[in-house]
Amino acid sequence: MLELQDLCYSVSGPEGETDILKNISLTIPDKRLVVLTGPNGGGKTTLARAIMGLVQPTGGRIFWDGTDITGADITQRARMGIAYGFQQPPRFKGIRVRDLLALASDKKLLPKGEACSYLTQVGLCANDYLDREVDTSLSGGEVKRIEIATILARHPRLMILDEPEAGIDLWSFARLTETFGEIHARQDCTMVIISHQERIISLADEILVVDKGVIARRGDRDEVFSSIVCDTMSGCPAVFGREGKR
């Protein structure tokens, strides 16, 4: 179980302190698929990064399986079964796809069949990609799918994905959504996915709307998703006029 207690994150700038996360308290039971959504700059990515240890909260506590991991570093959290998929994954000159998957799976030599299964799940053919370097010769969408394959190779107990759909074409995205659905159906792990995509949101057990550093709304997909759509429609004066009516 993942539990956040009064989690805060502030940054100092020329205009004083800015609160990015404001006393967020949250419990995510095991095996749930939770989608974080909300407007840009609302704090979703910071919240996800704080769980992985990529940013250090300025207040509050994080518990994973009952253990306080607030002071644990990224490596320790990774070894506790937490995995994180970056929105914009880095590229590596000289590190091949097979190397990255082997590192992720913690195996010196990753059997080709196993590597192939991870790549297939993200819609890539192993024969075309295993020996390619994860460098600028790959497109943004390819790097993104390889990133997700490394998360699958870790067999995590908590999978955090930051906008997995970003940069991925429609066809590959459909395959990816299937994979997330299958993982969730098998109850392999807890999943926290930052997304704005309806197809991913529709997989969620629970949707959290993160806005202005707080959980502005939470609920199951039917209630939260319909209210988001409703807010969006009425909030567009160009289409609906100032009163929110056509």
């Binding site: 992985m52 990529l54 570093d73 990224i74 490596t75 990774a78 070894r79 995995a83 994180y84 970056f86 914009q88 994954p89 880095p90 590596f92 000159k93 000289g94 590190i95 190397d99 990255l100 590192l103 992720a104 913690d106 490394t150 870790r154």
Partner: protein, 309 residues
């Protein structure tokens, strides 16, 4: 004079030339402390001593497919060894030449090896030339290597030159000159790691003289601590040709790197490109590998290993 090999020698030979027990399949010549410590000729590869200066001539028969090892090791502190090795590769031959130099210096005086290698690559021949430089030993004496490589490629010839300096060389000054005839192609890959107060200089000139010749230089280096590196690769297009120079460096600590790629076109049909980049290890690369369970130190080591692989 033939010299016997010690355990240190065989370990060095394995490190620089993948030779087991000081021997290799096919032809080889081991030079140790300016003398010969083993030689084998084959039907297609003839190695003979030069008569006018130190060094060997190596002749590869036309059309042959052979591998030849010609490593050099220096274990005497204070020794300065200059050697001239010439390689004559017959037309249509396909050969691999494993050179490499290892210095084990436990003394207080500088040990130096200056290897001057010249290749005459016949029409349509293919050559893979691999050169590893490595230094070790706990003495204060410097380990110095100044290699010079010159290659002449006849029509349709191909040269792949892979050089790497693994570790432990205090000072190196490398000079490379390649001349490509019509349809000839050269690919030079240079990998270099410097640390401590080491210094490395590399000057390279690729002359694309023949119509439809091609040249490619890929240089990857890591400079750590207070080490200093300087690269000056120069690609000259004198005919209809294609040339590409790519220099990538990772800088760490208080190191200094100068990268000065030059392209010089003397023909309207020459297509020449250069790219050069110097930067530290990107923070997001370290973070990514940490999220895969590596410590920050392991992540850095893995990134450097991949970069120089």
């Amino acid at each position: 004079m033939s010299q016997s090999l010690t355990a240190t020698d065989t370990a060095l030979l394995e490190k620089i030339a993948d030779m087991k027990g000081g021997r290799a399949d096919g032809a080889f010549n081991v030079r140790k402390d300016a003398g010969c410590a083993g030689r084998v000729n084959t039907k297609n590869v003839q190695i003979t001593n030069k008569t006018d200066k130190p060094g060997i001539d190596v002749h590869f028969a036309p059309g042959c497919r052979e591998t030849c090892h010609i490593p050099v090791i220096i274990t005497q502190s204070g020794l300065q060894d200059t050697v001239y090795n010439d390689f004559y590769i017959g037309p249509e031959a396909d050969v691999t030449i494993i050179a490499g130099c290892g210095i084990h210096n436990c003394g207080q005086d500088a040990s130096e090896h200056d290897g001057i290698h010249t290749f005459y690559i016949g029409r349509g021949a293919r050559v893979k030339y691999v050169e590893k430089h490595y230094g070790e030993g706990d003495g204060n004496g410097e380990r110095i290597m100044n290699p010079e490589t010159v290659a002449y490629l006849e029509e349709g010839a191909f040269l792949q030159m892979d050089t790497s300096q693994i570790a432990g060389i205090d000072s190196t000054r490398r000079n490379t000159k390649i001349v490509c005839g019509p349809g000839a192609e050269v690919v030079v890959t240079e990998r270099l790691l410097t640390h401590g107060r080491q210094r490395a200089d590399s000057d390279m000139e690729i002359l694309l003289d023949g119509e439809d010749s091609k040249g490619r230089v890929i240089s990857r280096s890591v400079a750590q601590d207070q080490s200093v590196q300087r690269f000056v690769p120069r690609m000259v297009g004198n005919a209809r040709c294609f040339g590409h120079v790519q220099c990538d460096s990772i800088i760490m600590g208080q190191a200094r790197i100068r990268s000065v790629p030059e392209i010089d076109a003397n023909s309207v049909d020459a297509q020449l490109i250069h790219e050069a980049a110097i930067g530290r290890i990107a923070g997001d690369q370290l973070l990514k590998l940490q999220t895969l369970g590596l410590t920050a130190e392991e992540a850095e080591e893995r990134i450097l290993k991949g970069f120089l692989a």
